[in-house]
Symmetry: C3
Subunit: 156 residues, 3 copies
């Protein structure tokens, strides 16, 4: 099954993988490791899930932003591989950066929007180690940025 098909079952569309307009790349592979660049909470229709947790956004909106950023992460994973769900051996690490005020304390609840989607798509292979922190600000004013390190099946 492809990542796109699995997302469709879950009620999501796989967005197009964005191309960076700079010297960096969206994914880098070394053997069976795949490194994915930080993906931000801008939806496929171009609308930014922007703002800070603890100010304009509540946890539900932040959780949704984390999900949007993760859809973009999945688009990059699909583009860098055959797109088959089973080619992801393990999501090793997820970094979740949450734009937040100094007194915001629910970064984990926001980050669960990303974690839950990865497990819904990849099953046990999607269970990852994670660091979730509150940052001062993110590109284009978005609420959430996620990056990842994965292990792929050989030859996938």
């Amino acid at each position: 099954m492809t990542i796109a098909e699995r997302l469709r079952e879950l009620g999501h569309d796989l967005p197009a993988a964005s191309k960076p307009v700079a010297s960096y790349v969206s994914t880098r592979r070394a053997g069976e490791l795949l490194v994915v660049s930080g993906q931000v909470s801008i939806a496929a229709d171009g609308s930014a899930h922007a703002g800070r947790l603890g100010a304009e956004l509540d946890v539900a909106a932040g959780r949704r932003a984390a999900e949007i950023a993760t859809l973009n992460l999945l688009a990059q994973i699909a583009a860098a591989t055959t797109g088959q769900v089973e080619n992801v051996a393990a999501v090793l690490r997820l970094g979740v950066f949450v734009a937040a005020t100094p007194d915001f304390t629910e970064q984990p609840q926001v980050a669960n929007g990303a974690s839950d989607l990865l497990v819904a798509v990849f099953g046990e292979a999607g269970r990852h180690a994670r660091a979730a922190v509150g940052v001062a600000s993110l590109p284009r004013g978005v609420a959430v940025e996620v990056d990842a390190l994965l292990a792929l099946r050989s030859r996938s």
Copy 2:
């Protein structure tokens, strides 16, 4: 020698490894690499080392918070392996996130609370590359979160 025994020599108790109440996991292994999720400065008795550096907390309190977070990191490493000190081939990277005000500049001094403890436990194998930054806020209002990438001995 186990990590628990070595900590006891250093005057610390190994805390219980916390279990995440979410879809992520505390550690993920890929071959000889071990990724450990961000661990926060909440002591074994449940007391949070909370607050921001540059505001409520001074460097000594921040250093102590970094040590508490690292005890939790060691608990995860012990739980994910046989618990033997010698099974850790190298602590490759430590991420240290310090809740801090915009004008705080001593993130390295705070992070040394984490680095010094890892070297005390693992010796040369504990010497790691590190990134220490000041973030806006952390889960549950804690002062320090640390995550890590380790190399293990094969079959440990």
Copy 3:
């Protein structure tokens, strides 16, 4: 060609690799992976590129700070290897931490100062995955900190 020679062609001097005065180390190697500690925007003459984006610094100054931090990163890479450009198989991941105000949104433009220099030095091997975020504060008040994960040629 060495990294120092290539930088000279680009109009830069390779700075001396700084030595951490703490228990951490500047680089850690595991097989063909090289992890480099966070390097800050302090120039070879000791002058700090300090301040926050969105406050004292504009994007051009931030971009320059990212370049300075990357020169220090290159110094660590050179010191940890034979110093030959061709020994770097791939820059896998670059972390770019930008000291920024809550309303700053151009972290990618600042981070391009780092990305462009790496590609200028290493060519295609220098194209990396990247996460760029705005943080509350950085060591010594600097504007930019960068860390990296690289793949080296075997035996380099």
